[in-house]
């Protein structure tokens, strides 16, 4: 398999602190209302205590990206060297087709630039041998950068409950499921 960088979302370690989300904003200063990385609480049907287990999600840098396939102006490319899906904003005409088509809501419409934008996996940092801003920021290593080509899968899953199962796009993100303590309550 070719090198494919991916985010590993370890919900067993994730404390839902939003540090990753703010680290992204700190680095890219997105316009108001635009969120590249969001921390989603799991519904109580999945983790029985409200807002106590989370998925931190940005672009999944899919094997077969919907955004890339539906973009009428070829504004998306997938880097061969590491599988990062890059949105070239100056080519974008702001048609919104990627936004409608990405099942994970990764591309967002920037009302100021009037173009789409999304998580770049900090490819400019990857190219300088640095981690993405969010990964570097995570205080518990719950968010990690992995290469799917080198992943020896143990307890990582691709489609946990709470994450849309979209095999056609084959998202790269992998998950480790949250655990629960023994509860002694009155």
């Amino acid at each position: 398999m070719q090198k494919q960088y991916a985010f590993l979302v370890d919900s067993e370690r994730c404390i839902g602190c939003f540090t990753c989300a703010m680290a992204c904003r700190n680095y890219y200063h997105q316009e108001e209302g635009i969120i590249w990385r969001q921390v989603y609480p799991l519904a109580e049907e999945i983790y029985p205590h409200r807002e106590r287990a989370f998925f931190s999600l940005a672009c999944n840098h899919c094997a077969n990206p919907a955004c890339l396939n539906v973009c009428p102006v070829n504004a998306y490319t997938k880097r061969e060297k590491d599988g990062v899906v890059v949105h070239h904003q100056d080519k974008c005409i702001g048609c919104g087709n990627c936004i409608r088509s990405c099942p994970y809501g990764a591309p967002k419409y920037n009302p100021v630039a009037k173009r789409a934008e999304k998580c770049s996996m900090c490819h400019e940092r990857l190219d300088a041998d640095l981690k993405p801003a969010c990964v570097q920021a995570c205080p518990t290593d719950a968010l990690q950068l992995i290469d799917l080509a080198e992943l020896h899968q143990t307890n990582e899953v691709q489609y946990p409950a709470g994450f849309p199962k979209m095999e056609s796009v084959n998202p790269s993100t992998r998950f480790i499921l949250p655990q629960m303590p023994k509860m002694v309550r009155r």
Binding site: I15, C17, A23, G33, P48, H49, R52, P139, T140, P181
Partner: protein
């Protein structure tokens, strides 16, 4: 810009087809095939060292990347193994803070409190008004005790003690001392061990058993979580005890939800079982402790596990199991949170928990310890703090109380400042006479968001003739002020920072020029001094021309240098440094600072100060309304800071009250309903979220100030009842923030 092309055959063919189809369209060729950003290059930035000055365990070391005089982004200093290259959600929002459109930009005066009629004035005009008022008070009263100063933890940068220094340089004033934060526990640890001193938090990874008791590091000390997780990975058991199923609890092995404020009974029940099981560490209690026999007798006479189970709601078999595991694990540690001592029995509870750690021989051990906090790293010169009163100043006759961060030696002066309880701000302003407090200086603090009984506070402020607030945002305290002075953010001043938890030292460089007309606290003091001396020569001793970098340098001394293993503060420009600790354990040689030199299960000093000599059980505060009300910290802020920033509100849009679904059903309340939470203090309208993270008898709302357009304030519901301890070391008793009660109804 790089033009790297990542082409494969398929894309190439597609490209050809596209070119073919659009060869006639000229714009096709105006667009590059690839518009990828160039690789990150650190050389494009000027890098500065900063440190988060908030009242937080983590006190993170920050690396600030500046280009063209503007902060581009920040990150955690990689040199600190504690910060480890990352900040927290609050820390990363700093990039926005100096540039926030909501910032106070100039000195301003308000025509009528809470009128919102602010007008811009010059620094000269503002200081002229202030200085004349100070002189008027002195003239009328013959002293300056009518001027009050309230300041706490809004900025813990050491040079910010210049606010206290400025007050001293004017004369003897009225100081609000004490702390709403952690004083009951400080006293407790002082009675037991002679000081508050915790192990290096990084050594928690070595623990075989960790009890996190009333602390929520997943929200309030995110960088500590990795050590707890590492201990867990190495096989340690993590027990979290909290009335709320917190995020930290969700990461543990066992979660206990005792009745709120029954922690003392729980610890004593565990202690009794350890005693009964013969698991007491005889070496420690025989050689390094005082009064263990009395404690054992107390336990035998008054405590059973079944009684503890009854008191706390935790089943006896669980109490026994965890007590045995804790006593046999080596090392085992307890992290005592500040939340669990904000009760009328908080100090007593901390003493009981200390006893549990001590009797199992875990004090003085790496990976062990009764962890609460430390001030070992705070040995600065306090140059900015120590200023001399003007010649002939008159003040209070008697001894002033001192705060927990006051490291100065007492003087034998004839007069002193008048000290009043910071936790009863409203009552104190209303009650203090001869002279009454007529003018108040507020800095590094937002009393309207943090001081208790807000309705009463508003009445109290209305009796003041002048309120001057130094701040960055138009918060509720500013709304209740006459004059506001804009203060610098951490990026705009020089200072130095340490933690009360970890052992790292960080410099805070001026990374950008102050925005607008902001001045640092010591620059404000210097400017005021200029004005005072112009109007009345000799009326203020504060230096009139200062350099914040020089003043920062003046905070260092030989002891600090040797403790941290540096020759000069300039070395800190290469990154933070950690204290050169011989061991990560506190009290490694078991020599305690108590009167007996031993760990004191029985403390005569404690008894002398009006408490029980033993870590005995103390009843909790009686309910005064149907539900217990808890108002702890949110993960999106520290007290009233950060939550108002537009960047933060992307992720945290509005406040909620959290309520158990069963309790809500009885009240006909549904998820997301608007409700009214009310008690004898006041009321707060807010939306409700239903969750079993809280118990059925509990309401939970997070302390916050959301900024303009939102009046949410938990202090509408918190009275100023004192905690049992705190007066000994912090100057005033703590406050029973979590011993509050309220009722709720749908609106």
């Amino acid at each position: 810009m790089t033009m790297k092309q990542t082409y494969n055959r398929r894309q190439f063919l597609k490209g050809l087809a596209a070119v073919g189809a659009t060869a006639l369209l000229p714009c096709r060729f105006l667009v590059p095939m690839n518009a990828e950003a160039a690789a990150f290059n650190e050389a494009e930035f000027t890098i500065f060292r900063n440190a988060c000055p908030r009242n937080c365990y983590d006190t993170c070391s920050i690396k600030t990347y500046v280009k063209d005089g503007v902060i581009q982004f920040i990150e955690g200093a990689p040199e600190s193994t504690y910060t480890d290259g990352g900040l927290c959600v609050k820390g990363y929002s700093y990039t926005r803070r100096p540039y926030s459109p909501d910032r106070i930009k100039y000195p301003m005066m308000q025509d009528g409190r809470r009128s919102g009629k602010w007008r811009r004035v010059s620094w000269d005009e503002a200081l002229d008004r202030i200085a004349k008022k100070i002189l008027e008070l002195k003239e009328k009263d013959g002293n300056l005790l009518g001027m009050g100063m309230t300041k706490y933890s809004g900025n813990f940068g050491i040079t910010n003690y210049g606010v206290e220094g400025m007050m001293s340089s004017l004369g003897y004033t009225t100081r609000f001392v004490g702390t709403p934060c952690w004083p009951a526990g400080i006293d407790a640890q002082n009675y037991d061990m002679g000081n508050m001193w915790c192990n290096d938090p990084e050594d928690m990874a070595k623990a075989k058993y960790i009890i996190v008791w009333g602390a929520n590091p997943a929200w309030c000390s995110v960088h500590s979580m990795k050590y707890i997780m590492e201990a867990k990975r190495r096989g340690a058991k993590i027990v979290v005890i909290d009335p709320v199923f917190t995020q930290t609890a969700a990461k543990g092995d066992v979660y206990w939800q005792p009745k709120t404020s029954t922690d003392g009974a729980l610890a004593l029940g565990m202690a009794k079982h350890i005693l009964d099981s013969g698991l007491v560490n005889q070496d420690f209690v025989n050689n390094y402790s005082y009064g263990f026999e009395d404690f054992a007798n107390y336990l035998n006479a008054n405590v059973t596990v079944e009684w503890a189970a009854e008191q706390t709601g935790i089943p006896a078999k669980d109490i026994k199991e965890v007590a045995e595991e804790f006593a046999t694990a080596d090392p085992a540690t307890i992290w005592i949170g500040y939340g669990m001592q904000r009760h009328t029995n908080g100090g007593a509870s901390v003493r009981s928990i200390d006893a549990l750690v001590a009797m199992t021989g875990n004090i003085g051990k790496e990976g062990g310890g009764a962890r609460y906090g430390q001030l070992q790293t705070w040995g600065f010169n306090y140059h900015a703090l120590i200023q001399k009163q003007p010649e002939g100043s008159k003040g209070f006759v008697g001894n002033a109380a001192k705060g927990e961060f006051d490291f100065t030696n007492g003087t034998e002066a004839q007069y002193s400042d008048r000290t009043v309880n910071i936790n009863k701000t409203a009552q104190v302003i209303l009650d203090t006479k001869d002279p009454a407090i007529k003018m108040l200086w507020v800095s590094c603090k937002n009393p309207f968001a943090q001081d208790f009984d807000r309705p009463k506070l508003e009445k109290a402020f209305d009796t003041l003739e002048m309120v001057v607030t130094v701040d960055q945002f138009f918060n509720e305290t500013v709304a209740n002020s006459d004059i506001v002075l804009p203060v610098t953010t951490l990026f705009e001043e020089w200072t130095v920072n340490v933690s009360y938890w970890h052992y790292w030292l960080s410099i805070n460089e001026q990374a950008i020029k102050p925005m607008h007309e902001a001045k640092s606290n010591i620059e404000i003091a210097a400017a005021l001094s200029q004005k005072m001396n112009a109007l009345s020569p000799g009326s203020c001793t504060f230096p009139q021309d200062i350099d914040t970098k020089e003043w920062m340098a003046k905070e260092f001394n030989k002891d600090i240098y040797s403790y941290f293993g540096i020759a000069d503060w300039t070395e800190l420009r290469n990154g933070p440094v950690k204290a050169k600790l011989k061991t990560s354990a506190a009290w490694p040689d078991h020599k305690f600072d108590t009167p007996s030199g031993k760990y004191e299960f029985k403390s005569e000093l404690c008894e002398k100060n009006g408490h029980n000599a033993l870590p005995a059980f103390k009843e909790r505060r009686k309910h005064y309304a149907a539900f217990r009300l808890l108002t702890p910290h949110t993960k999106f802020g520290i007290h009233s800071q950060f939550i108002n920033l537009d960047w933060m509100q992307e992720y945290d849009k509005e406040p909620f009250v959290y309520m158990h679904p069963n309790a809500a059903a009885k009240k006909g309340i549904a998820d997301q309903d608007m409700v009214r939470v009310f008690n004898k203090v006041g009321e707060q309208r807010v939306r409700v979220k239903l969750t079993d993270n809280v118990s059925e008898d509990c309401l939970l709302m997070y302390e916050a100030w959301f900024g303009k357009g939102n009046t949410f304030n938990v202090q509408n519901l918190v009275d100023d009842e004192s905690a049992d301890m705190g007066a000994f070391k912090a100057g005033a008793p703590g406050v029973a923030i979590h011993d509050q009660f309220a009722d709720i109804e749908r609106i």
